[in-house]
């Protein structure tokens, strides 16, 4: 056992843990006054981690030589792709959180630390090669997330959201753990490769139950219907930067984990979970679309939109092909950009007292009073609806193309037809902003850092994004290749 090599392969994780602990000390002695410094240091750490991770992706590292600690941890291209997205999302969260909490006078030194530890957990999730590593990563992430959701301590909604997230999240973790123990019981191993080998001969009933329970637990984490109920409440209640974190980094990590489990542990028994995934995908698309129609809170709307989008991502999973996996990764990357743009735009909406504006009706006539924010928001909405030439279309494009290539034409046709329902409520937001008379609620000035982030993310989802399709597509193919070594 080459211990030193294992340590080298887990360098980003080690760096995150050590610097997290050091910054914890700083927080302990410096108190909340040091929060700004800690945030900056945390962003620097995340950037360093990203630089440590990137060569793996470009170098197309995969297989046994990047497997650390006896297969518990894999530093392969897939993990690298997901981790880059996670680190970027976490960095964005920290950048937008500082001014947000400063304004609310609620910035606390532990906030950036929790984000760091959550990112660490997420990194472990997407690198997991074993059920144990999976669970440790998942819980590390979840516990940090529960606290993050309620980090606005004076706000009732934030506390409620944290509590709800905790209760339902623990339930899901329990279900997942139960599924894992069943799987272990029927296969005799906790490693993904071992499970796959043990199930090569067929799927015993007990393992099927294990698989279903694991899928249910993970579906909760990615907020796929019918396990989506917590999402709108948590998204609405959590402070907006935290919601951004949940919509981006948490989503990437949970989906990455689901892909690991589905393709690596149960890859040989794809037909056993494909039907379940198809069901969840279509249900998520429809529920995400129908649920959003009646919403008047922009954050709740984004929550339903995320359920809707997870449905599309799951269509890629349902194909159980390498092209499908690659398409999922492309979609996830684009979804992260759309979410960042959407939530940062929401952050910029403040009334004259500096309070957040979240009601959609208050956005009325935004195109007259704040034309550029309205334009960015409209781009996000059309992009989420998947209308070309905005970049959100590309995500749907690759996913449905993969579905058609996998000969799942009916699924593709139903899925894409259902996307029209979703277009309705995205249009509603645009309608309110562009067609209605100004409500003149949004008055406050935004932060420079927010504006910069909004411009960057909006440019990424604008038609200019297509110029990046080759790059993103190639990297996603590298990443997907790690999950399908032979395909």
């Amino acid at each position: 056992m080459d211990f030193a090599r294992s340590l080298a392969l887990t360098a980003p994780e080690i760096l995150l843990s050590v610097s997290g602990l050091v910054l914890l000390m700083v927080a302990g002695w410096g108190g909340d006054k040091a929060s700004r410094l800690i945030s900056i240091a945390a962003v620097a750490v995340l950037t360093a981690c990203a630089f440590l991770t990137a060569p793996t992706l470009w170098g197309q590292a995969m297989g046994a030589e990047v497997s650390a600690f006896g297969g518990q941890h894999r530093a392969d291209t897939f993990a690298a792709f997901a981790k880059l997205l996670i680190y970027a999302s976490a960095g964005v969260t920290l950048i937008i959180a500082q001014p947000f909490f400063d304004k609310a006078r609620a910035m606390r030194a532990e906030f950036p630390l929790l984000v760091l530890f959550a990112s660490l957990g997420m990194g472990m999730m997407v690198s997991a090669g074993d059920l144990l590593a999976l669970y440790i990563g998942l819980e590390l992430n979840s516990l940090a997330s529960y606290v993050l959701a309620s980090s606005l301590r004076t706000d009732e909604r934030s506390a409620e959201s944290g509590l709800k997230y905790f209760v339902l999240g623990s339930l899901a973790s329990g279900i997942l753990l139960f599924g894992m123990s069943l799987t272990y019981g029927f296969t005799g191993t906790t490693s993904f490769a071992g499970i796959n080998a043990a199930l090569a001969g067929g799927l015993p009933t007990g393992a099927t139950f294990g698989l279903i329970f694991m899928l249910a637990g993970l579906a909760f984490k990615i907020s796929a219907a019918p396990f989506h109920m917590w999402t709108p409440d948590v998204y609405e209640g959590a402070p907006t930067p935290v919601t951004t974190f949940f919509a981006t980094a948490s989503k990437v990590a949970a989906l990455g984990l689901l892909m690991r489990v589905a393709f690596e542990a149960f890859g040989g028994q794809a037909q056993a979970w494909q039907q379940v995934v198809i069901f969840m995908a279509l249900l998520s698309i429809v529920i995400g679309a129908l649920g959003a129609i009646g919403q008047n809170n922009i954050k709740r709307l984004m929550a339903y939109s995320s359920i809707n989008n997870v449905g599309f991502i799951l269509i890629g999973l349902a194909t159980a092909t390498r092209a499908g996996a690659s398409a999922m990764l492309v979609y996830i990357a684009i979804y992260v950009a759309m979410s960042v743009a959407g939530f940062v735009a929401v952050l910029l909406l403040r009334d004259e007292n500096g309070e957040q504006v979240e009601a959609i009706s208050d956005l009325a006539g935004l195109s007259k009073t704040r034309p550029w924010i309205a334009l960015a928001m409209a781009s996000v909405m059309f992009s989420l609806a998947g209308i070309p030439p905005l970049f959100g279309f590309w995500g749907k494009f690759v996913v449905f193309q993969a579905a058609v290539q996998a000969d799942m034409i009916v699924l593709a046709a139903i899925g894409i037809a259902a996307s029209v329902i979703g277009a309705f409520y995205y249009l509603k937001v645009v309608k309110v902003m562009y067609f209605d008379e100004p409500a003149d609620v949004v008055k406050g000035a935004g932060e420079t850092s927010h504006t910069v982030l909004l411009v960057l993310s909006t440019l990424a989802i604008s038609p200019l994004g297509y110029l990046g399709t080759k790059c993103v597509g190639t990297l996603a193919n590298y990443a997907a290749a790690a999950l399908f070594p032979v395909g």
Binding site: S367, F382, Q401
Partner: protein, 510 residues
């Protein structure tokens, strides 16, 4: 001009101007828009002048592998050339029509129009199937905003209806495109046009494409978004909607449905005939009872488009050429008619026919132009409408006498509702004082009417200018369709000449 990317330039000019419109002061946005559309018009003229009639099928081709999964690939044949020419010709007119009537949020308005121009040219010039789809679908966004922001009373309902109807139609087409690309292994439209898809699959593919094009066309019974959208859109929006957007459906049939799925097209031709015949009769009758001028013209558009579809599915050269000519002519004439409505709408702010009357007394020049466009819409010989309708009906007569017969009633009904409209608006007594006080055309309106009138007459008197560029492409399409051509219902057999008897009779008379 070899190697010079003129098509990309034509796409770029309005796009850059659209961004410029958003940042310049709003009083200057219209000037920016006018200059940009005029530059594009000049480029269009150069394009036509440089187009080698009878030369290679695809000209001005450019290709750049910029994206994963599809490429930036442009190129035009004669059919696309004519439609691009129509687009760049109508755009300055649209800007002119909006010159004074748009008084709020000018920058965004002109930006949306310029974006539309880019996308429409892109649709006609795209040689990559996914590039086509992106351009085709992207038009929804600016059109949604144009109808919703600057439209009339029911604009919000109309904008939703327009958007969701056309989106639902199009997404299924995307799935069909994936299947085709997967099967044929290329996204190149010319290659796909020559690819023989299995007949079984063609049926499904054809239906998926039909779902999109029928809505865009629009064909009865999925035409209901059109009157709403037309009526609620501002004048410029109506002109571009009727003039160019409706042609995308017909272009889709010519470019995709017919050459890519000839067998399925033949199989479904009776369905298309049925829908078109129903459209001609039903929408013409609906047009007769309209009290709103724009709605009347909108319904007449549906009727005209129905003749386009029968002509296309006639599977012969006359039908195809006729359909193309109707599309061009309708683009000009319907655009001009909406413009004529816009002229008096700007003065009286109502589209109620009953509020006007006797306009030929106080607006004689206007009445002349309006009469010309009315006659062109009816299809009077000497105007553009006649040539296309005549050829189309000639084409369809070879396939089915009944379809030709019923579609011809459309011309008669067309004359009825258009002349009735004209009588109520321009003739009779001046029963409304405010309508009687309206001034005649001003210089700006003259500048818009004269070119339209000139081209309408040109196309009516010497249609060869417009048929020549596309003749070879239509012939190629006809050859491609020959394998699936359905049999006509009339099978004329050559008569036996009675030469001997005639000669004998001749001799006896002497």
């Amino acid at each position: 001009m070899n190697g010079f990317p003129i098509l990309s330039l034509m796409l770029l000019v309005p796009l850059v101007a659209a961004v410029a419109c958003l940042v310049v002061p709003r009083e200057q946005a219209r000037s920016v828009a006018l200059v940009a559309t005029l530059i594009d018009f000049v480029l269009g003229v150069i394009l036509w002048a440089q187009f080698d009639i009878g030369g290679a099928q695809w000209q001005f081709t450019e290709s750049a592998a910029l994206f994963a999964g599809f490429s930036w690939k442009l190129g035009i044949d004669g059919i696309a050339l004519l439609l691009i020419a129509l687009t760049v010709f109508l755009m300055p007119v649209c800007i002119g029509a909006s010159w004074t009537s748009i008084d709020k949020r000018q920058g965004e308005y002109y930006a949306a129009f310029l974006l539309m121009e880019t996308l429409m040219i892109g649709v006609f010039a795209a040689q990559d199937i996914f590039l086509f789809y992106i351009m085709f679908e992207a038009g929804l966004i600016p059109m949604y905003l144009i109808i919703g922001v600057w439209g009339g009373v029911d604009r919000i309902y109309a904008s939703y209806k327009f958007f969701l109807y056309t989106l639902l139609g199009s997404v299924l087409m995307l799935i069909a495109m994936f299947w085709m690309v997967n099967e044929a292994g290329t996204t190149d439209i010319p290659t796909l046009m020559a690819y023989n898809f299995p007949a079984q699959a063609q049926t499904w593919l054809w239906l998926a494409f039909f779902a999109s094009f029928a809505v865009k066309m629009p064909m009865w019974p999925v035409h209901t978004w059109l009157p709403d959208a037309h009526v609620q859109a501002p004048t410029g929006g109506s002109v571009i909607l009727a003039g160019v957007l409706l042609k995308m459906g017909g272009y889709g049939f010519i470019r995709f449905s017919l050459p890519m799925f000839p067998e399925a097209s033949a199989q479904f031709a009776p369905l298309v005939f049925f829908m078109s015949m129903a459209a001609v009769v039903i929408t013409s009758l609906i047009a007769l009872v309209q009290t709103d001028m724009k709605k009347l013209i909108a319904y007449s558009s549906v009727a005209h488009m129905a003749i386009v579809t029968v002509g296309l599915f006639a599977f012969n050269q006359q039908g195809l050429e006729g359909s193309m000519l109707i599309m061009l002519s309708h683009g000009l004439v319907a655009g001009a008619l909406f413009l004529s409505v816009g002229v008096i709408y700007d003065r009286l702010h109502t589209r109620e026919i009953a509020r006007y009357g006797g306009l030929s007394i106080n607006m004689p020049y206007y009445a002349v132009f309006f009469l010309l466009f009315t006659m062109a819409s009816i299809g009077l010989p000497g105007t553009s409408g006649f040539v296309g309708e005549f050829l189309s009906l000639l084409g369809i007569y070879q396939i089915s006498s009944w379809v030709a017969l019923i579609c011809t009633t459309g011309i008669i009904l067309g004359a009825a509702y258009m002349l009735y409209l004209y009588r109520r608006v321009a003739y009779g007594e001046q029963k409304n004082a405010d309508a009687a006080a309206m001034p005649d055309l001003d210089k700006r309106e003259w500048a818009m009417m004269v070119p339209l009138a000139a081209v309408v007459l040109w196309m009516g008197v010497y249609p060869e200018s417009f048929i020549a560029p596309m003749r070879k492409d239509i012939a190629a399409l006809d050859a491609r369709l020959a394998q699936a051509k359905p049999k006509g219902d009339a099978q004329p057999t050559a008569g036996k000449p009675m030469a001997i008897a005639h000669e004998a009779a001749h001799g006896e008379a002497h």
